[in-house]
Symmetry: C2
Subunit: 334 residues, 2 copies
DNA sequence: TTTTAGCACTCTTCCTTTTTGATTGCTAAA
DNA sequence: TTTAGCAATCAAAAAGGAAGAGTGCTAAAA
């Protein structure tokens, strides 16, 4: 689709731009990259690459800058595989070996490691609770009027919540609750906890409404509640030259401060292992100046959350994707 | 210590500067504030106020700007009491009425409300666990090799943690654990959970080391672990004119991104109800351009966490302090 | 003695103009 | 098809100048 030399020139321009953040001139390419042709030839090719939409010019007499289409081609066709050093591999290994008791913690360690190695802002979120099946539900009485409900899912994720009552709860009632919920819910998807169970309890058990109602409400809340966002290295963004512009900096802070947008981002589209959204490929207007790269934290093919990077369009895609692939492989058990 | 007229002029200058973020001229004060004297007189007083260190001049022919000493005097002596509107009171009331099951949630609601009403970035942290007494400890078996320990403190704060084992745990063992911990620990401060208990268990119970060791380790971790920071409205800072300077903006992001600094801030010095740290009154160099105002979330005089605001030195101290006082009063039960 | 009008002086800010230098696109020769 | 050469373009930096806000000082007024 693109002749070999054009590819090489495009790759050189994008590599150079990723490094310098300055529009790239034909002269710079001629000098730095041995392509066996003069700057005039490169210039001619650049005109073509601009006509076909891979490059852009900030103004008439400036060098070229990759367009979104250019980046897309770069990511799809020109990316460097395994752009990761031995040192980085060792660092990631040591970080991921940390012993954790909760999966969420491992996701967070992976997220912060990703940010440290790539120097971009990273973000993660746990899996949607309602896609998981219930393994076990346990109720614990705390004091006399407070109940803790602990839900264990088949993916090994534990969710707990506290329910307060206006009247005393007896240990007897707690045992009954434990019995009902475990018999009725084992193996069911979490979102089935709602209606059918409520009906069952009311018909079969004739259970006190004052006790069941708050429990159902709170369980419903916990199950449907979005899991917490974890953000790491927001300050790293400010090292980048694009953040010299106050406008861009402000947009970025607004973006990561309005959690919903980031959440949506992490919750959409997982056709591939690694998902790359470049600039205005994102539906959200706020994201037009940024690129997002995400992948799923999987263990034995179970979804344990999503991890992503938010950075400028001029991102080191090769590095980020290589690091992500490595982390993803490690998380999934080698 | 300062004559009446000087006070009035200082107050006028600071009020004006807080509003406009521009150096304040003698003429502006004469026009806007009815002080019954000419701009020349005000000018003369300003010279004195500068000599005694309350004011500063960015350059020879500019208006005056408050110094740290000026702000300090303003906060100590000139602050407006109850600088809070009826509308704001109503808004805060409605927010704080939200029914919550966990105290942490209430702290967070208070924190975000504070940010919304004042338009500054707010931050909060839970109480130090090891200052609290244990009310109850409960162990719950999840599956066969996972134990959840739930600790209820006398302040009503619930902490839970998961412990994983390499061997199966029986319900029998769990009951024994519940019995031991509750008899031995009730009413004790959380940090006594460590050594004495371990000894007791080993001597009295002859309990399997494989079970007790991980439990003790994990409990120790949970108790000594700092509670999570909650940050709200970081983007609000970018509306302020001082954040036009990239330097300041970057410092701010670095600050709130390195959690330790914020944590230290919230964990120090509670001589007064409301604590104000202006600019370089903060020990940390990073904070020299910012002011911090903090207060304790108390309920029935029990410490439930700390809530604070981080903003520019040119902060609306009257408003922030009034709003904080009101929120603090409401949290403490009217 | 205190206050105030008047005014020269100081600096920043904003605007315009000039200079510089990088880079292109085109032309014509290789 | 490639390349050397060169005029044309335009942003960015530097330089210059005008405007205006504000001060500090002096001398008169209260």
């Amino acid at each position: 689709m693109l002749e070999e030399r054009k590819k090489k020139i495009l790759q050189a321009i994008i590599d150079e731009y990723i490094n310098t953040a300055e529009p790239v001139s034909s002269g710079a390419i001629e000098k730095k990259y041995r392509l066996g042709c003069s700057s005039a030839t490169i210039r001619n090719e650049m005109v073509e690459l601009e006509k076909t939409g891979y490059l852009e010019k900030p103004h008439t007499s400036s060098g070229r800058v990759p367009s979104a289409k250019g980046y897309r081609f770069y990511v799809d066709e020109l990316i460097k595989e395994d752009d990761i050093s031995l040192q980085e591999i060792k660092y990631i290994q040591s970080k991921l070996e940390t012993k954790v008791n909760e999966i969420e913690e491992l996701t967070q360690i992976a997220t912060s490691t990703l940010s440290e190695v790539t120097h971009y802002t990273s973000v993660s979120i746990g899996p949607r609770a309602n896609f998981q099946n219930i393994e076990e539900v346990k109720f614990v009485l705390l004091g006399t009027r407070m109940l803790m409900a602990v839900i264990l899912t088949d993916t090994g994720i534990v969710k707990e919540t506290i329910i307060k009552f206006d009247e005393d709860i007896t240990e007897q009632q707690v045992s009954t609750l434990n019995f009902i919920f475990n018999n009725k819910l084992k193996g069911k998807p979490l979102d089935e906890i709602d209606k059918p169970l409520e009906e069952y309890i009311f018909s079969e058990m004739n259970y006190s409404l004052n006790v069941i109602k708050p429990i159902m409400q709170q369980l419903d809340r916990v199950i449907n509640e979005e899991s917490k966002l974890y953000l790491e290295g927001a300050n790293k963004a400010f090292e980048l030259p694009e953040f010299k512009s106050l406008e861009v900096a402000r947009n970025f802070i607004n973006l990561i401060d309005t959690k919903e947008v980031v959440r949506d981002l992490l919750n959409t589209g997982f056709a591939k292992d690694i998902n790359v959204y470049i600039g205005d490929e994102n539906e959200n207007e706020q994201l037009k100046d940024f690129s997002i790269i995400t992948f799923k934290h999987r263990y034995q093919d179970k979804d344990l959350g999503t991890i992503g990077i938010i950075g400028p369009k001029r991102m080191d895609y090769s590095k980020v994707i290589s690091v992500m692939k490595y982390i993803s492989k490690k998380l999934n058990g080698q």
